[in-house]
Symmetry: none
Subunit: 226 residues, 2 copies
Amino acid sequence: MKILVIEDEKDVANLIAEALQDSLSTVDIANDGKAAVYMFQTNTYDLVLLDYNLPIKNGEEVLSEIKKENKNIPVIAITVETSQETKNKMFEMGVDDYITKPFIFDDLISRVNAVSRRPKKIESKIYKIDDLCVDVEKHQVRRGKINIYLTFKELMLLEFFLKNEGRILSRTILMENVWDFNADPFSNTIESHILKLRKKINPNKDKRDLIHTIKGRGYKIDLNKW
Amino acid sequence: MKILVIEDEKDVANLIAEALQDSLSTVDIANDGKAAVYMFQTNTYDLVLLDYNLPIKNGEEVLSEIKKENKNIPVIAITVETSQETKNKMFEMGVDDYITKPFIFDDLISRVNAVSRRPKKIESKIYKIDDLCVDVEKHQVRRGKINIYLTFKELMLLEFFLKNEGRILSRTILMENVWDFNADPFSNTIESHILKLRKKINPNKDKRDLIHTIKGRGYKIDLNKW
DNA sequence: AATTTATCTTATGTTTATCTTAAATTCACA
DNA sequence: TGTGAATTTAAGATAAACATAAGATAAATT
């Protein structure tokens, strides 16, 4: 794990760096806000430790610039202030945790560990067409109130259709994009998968068809065929 | 964020729920103390809103039982009483904030925000799913009334699942996060550990399965597979 | 050093996704 | 309406993914 420590007092910075450095972490130090932003732009870090009371470019500015670069980067603020207002503002700006000076190194380390272990919250894209909802990330597919189980390949196929809603997709395009190889002209696997997919996303045959065949050209997903 | 509202007057409960519900919060309502405790035991909440004047099982009892389960859970009490004595007792028992009836919804919401923004104490987070309780710090795992002994690695694995409840975790992700190294493609250690974990957290095979395999993608912990 | 225990490896069995085959059906056009 | 090409359908084969058990190694404990 790579950590960026932004701290103007060099002694403190070195102590922190030493405390964090082990076989699993490497630490870079930035002594002022400007350097920090530059380093952040030119390197990839897993975590930022930010002294909120920096001299030239203050912590808030640095935070905002860092978050502009990568809004998912975990940040732990180091602060002397403890007012609720400051804290709220910090959290609003996306700080994950804070620690007040003076602090115990063990405490710092456990916070670093806690934050770095937090699962990154990737908001998954949810596709919707008619009353079909597809969350690829969670592997969840629902038609109306019915939960549907799709296999991996079926889901990949459906996702590709949904990504290209309304567009006609030829067998070649499907092969290249969902199967990652060039089509064997005698293979029937696409048709086979389309069949299963159609059955699954319309389990009781009481809903509108969504996957349409355009003879001689391919398939498309759409509310209406024409 | 998941909030448990404990309030016997259903109209009030619904109004509160509506006020709190947004893209970031989901709200469960318990209409009496008994239901509240049960819900708390079988779910994981980030915050509890507790009406202190409940009919059957009173607020104090409910609070004590909840805190027994998880002493770090933030609780905001709703009360009509304003006596200093009651307040003191409440705070002693670990209430984080209180609000007196009648209240303005904006006020409630800002208090909820304030409390929920407080950094969680790192110690003893208790994970719950179904009737499985896991206290990582204390190395305690229970399924219903049965105490379970897990080895360190098994516990790390389970913790990582619980941290990512509902999310599908690939072998690579598991390797990186639980084993701290890149996967040997021929290694079978994950499957091996999953097997043991499954057996241990369902010792009599009479409970709901919690660890689900999503073929081709990985595993997840969740109440339901789909 | 001996013993226990956790973790990893190996080997084998089982399940299931995916692909293939082949026959039935549909469709566009004569 | 008949014809061939395109598509649909079903069922079976194959290969990949996973589950399981038992044994080997490494680590910890005594």
